[in-house]
Symmetry: C2
Subunit: 309 residues, 2 copies
């Protein structure tokens, strides 16, 4: 494959990110914009701005389920305009160089394996903890080509309805969206909390970041909600440990900002639920690449798609 | 590797099985006995009886968690006498030929891949449905070297205590043990059922087979319990579909005898919970090798350990 650079695209529900990445994983340039309505136009324009003869290919990391053979989006709950679209073909036709497509969390796992927190592990599972919860699996130093939708395993048989159509998914109790929704319900029911003083009293504007910040000031509602969500995450982590017995669990996304409450509670819960012999061997660690994991991993698809790194 | 035969051992909580198997997976001889107390002696005697110069190696499939590098049993809840034992070394020292060890359900998955229901699939997950629930994962035509303890994923956060120490595991609601225990509780509480007439009225002697048999006669308690367990199994299957997006789920073990009630209900539940795009692509099928899957797969470890088949 000629060319020493790759363009990595990370197309999530909130942001469209693009980066120009070298063969050793260094980000030379990057850009970010809110996920636009006219996705293809923006994607073409961003790629164009990074394009040169030294670009070996383009890697696309996209939120949703992708049919890897055809390149068609089977289901993208957060970017429904993509459903049924063949992004792979569209981008390939435009630039006439190799194009690769993956789920965004899978791409992020590849990024963490390549030059991030997963570098030293042959087997790990990445959880992306944000508005929703995604996952990516590295096994035997390769990206496992599976859905890895860890946010959509049922952990509460009679749990709350999830955006995916199921109920009781991990995402319905451990994600930022779930946490904010529960805080709002508690405030509506009259619970006391410093959170009432934010956004000029408009509780419907509260964010997960607000909950973290106020939790550090000792607010009991904020702390309780973070702990509840953490316990729930711990169940999901324990399930993955018992099924995939990884060497590490790498945690990424905005919610890891609340490591001392949310993640600590998750680790405590996972330690009670996973097989002891497996829990003792697993390291639960934060992402190293942060928001860049997706673009780096997507670029990595060009150089390392399903190959051993 | 010299020799055209392999000895496959399947050491479960209930039975010790051994077979002499050819390079094409044909069983030439086989033996079975209840899992003995002096396991090593019986294992040596069985292997000895199949031994010849044409034996290339011995494959051990053992119920429990194994440290594959060292060969030490980390945890065997159903055969606790094995905990901390290095079966691999013991057998190797005795016979001085290559010996391989795997979890029994993983070995069964390899057997189904080699010459069973999984032959045509590069990616499938085997569930063993019996007293407990085990699993094995085939990915890219290889056995995935992971714990695959699918019976020990939490699906009811506040569910019943499990033998593994956790609570709410799939096994606590979908296994034969769980089903029998729930039937007994219902009978103790006075529920009417034809099951009362079996075993001279001793409800504590009821088995899962009794429940199937009576369900076919239309007994409402038996049918309700099988359906409840099936729905529970369906949640576990949906979780595996969303995480591992296999081409097939292969169902093995005694409980598959009740396919029309228990498995049918499981498939219905999984169809509601898994991502539609993934569910549509997955085939849910019965094992072909039945009780021989374990010995054939264990022998297969000698010829195909983690190699593409």
């Amino acid at each position: 494959m000629s060319g020493n650079l790759a363009i990595g695209i990370d197309l999530g529900g909130t942001n469209l990110r693009a980066a120009l990445v070298t063969r050793d994983g260094t980000v030379i340039k990057k850009k970010k914009e809110p996920t636009p309505e006219r996705i293809l136009d923006s994607l073409f324009a961003l790629s164009e701005s990074f394009f040169s003869e030294d670009v070996a290919g383009i890697g696309l990391g996209v939120a949703g389920l992708i049919d890897r053979k055809s390149g068609i989006m089977i289901n993208s709950p957060n970017i429904p305009v993509l459903n049924g679209i063949n992004l792979l073909n569209e981008v390939q036709a435009k630039f006439n160089i190799p194009v690769f497509i993956e789920n965004d969390a899978n791409a992020a796992a590849l990024g963490e394996k390549w030059i991030g927190a997963g570098r030293e592990f042959s087997d790990f599972v990445l959880f992306t903890l944000g508005t929703g919860i995604g996952g990516g699996i590295i096994k035997d130093n390769r990206l496992l080509s599976v859905a890895a939708e860890v946010g959509h395993m049922t952990i509460h048989t009679n749990g709350q309805k999830c955006f995916c159509g199921n109920s009781g998914c991990l995402e319905t109790c451990a994600s930022a969206r779930a946490m904010v929704s529960k805080v709002i319900s508690a405030l509506e029911e009259g619970r006391e909390s410093m959170l009432r003083q934010l956004h000029e009293g408009n509780i419907y504007k509260l964010t997960a970041e607000d909950i973290f910040r106020i939790s550090f000031e000792g607010d009991s509602l904020a702390r309780e909600m973070l702990k509840d969500a953490g316990r729930c995450l711990g169940i999901g982590i324990a399930n993955i440990i018992n099924i995939l017995s990884p060497q590490a669990i790498v945690l990424a996304g905005g919610l890891t900002g609340a490591w001392d409450i949310y993640i600590r509670e998750a680790i405590k819960e996972a330690s009670k639920r996973a097989f002891q012999g497996l829990f003792e061997r697993v390291k639960i660690i934060p992402s190293l690449l942060g928001d860049d994991a997706g673009v780096i991993g997507s670029a990595g698809l060009v150089f390392h798609r399903f190959e051993e790194i």
